[in-house]
Amino acid sequence: MAFSDPSLAEENALTGNSHRNLHGIQRWMQAMIVNPDGVRSGAASDEARIAIQSKSVSIEDMILPSRALSSQRRLEVYANAYYARLLECLRDEYPALTSLLGEETFNAFAFEYLQTHPSRSYTLADLGQAFPAFLESNRAVACADDNANPIGVEEDTSTDQSWVDLMIDLARVERTYCEVFSGPGIEQTATLQADDIAAVPAEEVGDIRLQVAPCVRLLKLNSRAHEFAIATRKGTASTDQLPESVPTYLVITRLNYVVRTIVVEQEEFQLLQLLINGDTLGDSIAQVADESPLEEPEWLARMAGWFEKWAAGRLFVQCVSW
């Protein structure tokens, strides 16, 4: 069965003889749309030439004009939409960072990010996954970027440093919030109670391991960035009052479908890290206790308080002994 409409085929036929199969056309079109310098640059790019297996193919050779728009203007609808859509998505994922940097500066970082981290997933939820690591790896660039620093104290490198720290901290917190919000949770699961550990025979307690809830994440930050992230979401944030630069230890989890942030002490954080790594209760406690300046009774009392807090926060699902 022949499907082609002969008149249309003739009308659209190229005078040239370049080979363009569907794959080539798609590679060509994608090269146009994602080109950071626009579709004209896209058309001149190696990528486009390789796609079409031709030394030079103009946009007009590929795309028909309409009555009102040229071939280029029509293709630009897709090119503009590509960046507009993905930048909007990243701004939605990082609202506090957007507010800190201002939309223009945020967009500049996000635009660069998309050059090296285009989406390879069927879901937009994965788009911003590597953004915190991207900012971290561009720390030097961010420090040098005056636009990224409204405080504008160029000589003061420590201010620059803490500014960039805050930026990266915010990115890490906001990404974690997204992942915890839509990841697996404990809403339909029982979690570990203080009694569960008490029920383990004394001689076995040291050998048990605790299984962490799937929604729990630990974050060590250089600032109290979470306060700004939360305030932004509540609409109460102000860039005049930026979070303090101070080592901050966070447990982020989800209770009843809402993301919760728990600030913990350094030793508590360390103990949680060891337990989550799968170390036994005995080994984990011994390691943290060793490094603690506190006397044993005082230290034990504090630890008991932590365990109560963790049970209330539903951080662990169960204890297993083997």
Partner: protein
């Protein structure tokens, strides 16, 4: 397992299919859970729920107990020359089973190539090579999903020199060759007819009546020189007129309103789709010349840089 009890035991608002539905959006979650509005059915964006273990999924499960659910995807990329993503298709199938989805739809488009996803619904050139390619892939998808695939005509902004047939012929051949069904987006037909200077009625005349299971209606943005499918407002009269024209051609299908940007309160969205009843009641006298108003080029764009759909992202709830 017990069949879910539909919330509304009355007949659907319209005699066609499962009636008049609304696209499920996160901003309406609280309203729906509180009021259980008398809407006939909900359409979900599949990708928003496929990997989701949080609130959105929990809300969906509650809604799926009370209303018929239809799944609408944006990332199948049926027209791409990249291999089909089998992991994606398995997850899609699993969600369809879990929500008891009435049908599963996506678009006649590709979203990316060379492992990238542009998250846009990009058009394919309409020619025999593309047709063969899509026919093969639709067959594979239907085998995996174990149900007919429902495909939607996208809004498009370019046409290719390599096209040798019209979009409406291409779509008709697809249904003939694969047995796939159609989601006829009347707004997309309109938007594309403006962008590509064709007669929207000619498009509808070519659509096989018995293959259409669903209509989409939505608002768009008139940019003066072209239209963009922004889903950010009311359905314009020329689109309603096209909808009525399709009905007069004998197309009977469940009807859904999409509203994805500047989303108003639920009742406003619901009221918009209910307008379908009055549009169909005031049926056109068949001997009158059928005029569909051309777009007014004076219309100011409602958003200067409208982002074409799909643009979707669920914001985390944080305390």
């Amino acid at each position: 397992m017990q069949e879910p009890v539909p919330f509304s035991t009355s007949a659907p608002s319209s005699p066609d299919g499962i009636g008049l539905g609304v696209g499920l959006r996160t901003v309406h979650f609280a309203h729906i859970l509180k009021n259980w509005p008398a809407v006939d059915w909900f359409e979900i964006i599949s990708e928003n729920f496929m990997n989701c273990g949080g609130r959105p999924r929990n809300v969906l499960d509650q809604i799926a107990e009370r209303y018929p659910i239809v799944m609408h995807g944006v990332s199948m990329s049926i027209g791409s020359t990249d291999p089909l993503n089998l992991d994606y298709l398995q997850k899609l199938k699993q969600l369809a089973t879990e929500t008891k989805a009435r049908w599963v739809s996506d678009h006649v488009c590709w979203t990316g190539v060379a492992s990238k996803n542009t998250h846009d619904l990009l058009p394919v050139p309409y020619n025999e090579e593309t047709l063969r390619h899509l026919v093969d892939r639709i067959g594979i998808v239907q085998d995996i999903l174990e149900r007919p695939l429902v495909l939607e005509n996208p809004s498009t902004y370019v046409t290719f020199r390599d096209s040798t047939m019209t979009e409406w012929d291409f779509i008709r051949y697809l249904t003939m060759e694969t047995g796939c069904q159609l989601l006829l987006d009347v707004n997309n037909v309109y938007v594309s007819s403006v962008n590509h200077d064709f007669d929207a009625r000619r498009y509808l005349d070519s659509i096989p009546v018995d293959r259409v299971v669903q209509f989409h209606l939505a608002g768009h943005t008139n940019m003066g020189t072209h239209c963009i499918d922004t889903h950010d407002g009311h359905v314009v009269d020329p689109v309603w007129e096209l909808f009525r024209y399709a009905h007069e051609r004998g197309i009977r299908a469940s009807t859904l309103l999409e509203w994805d940007a500047s989303i108003p309160e639920f009742d406003v969205v619901h009221a918009e789709v209910l307008k379908a009843k009055s549009w169909l009641q005031t049926a056109h006298a068949l001997d009158e010349p059928y005029v569909i108003n051309p777009p007014s080029m004076e219309t100011a764009p409602s958003r200067l840089a409208g982002i074409p759909q799909p643009a979707l992202y669920a914001t985390a709830e944080v305390e």
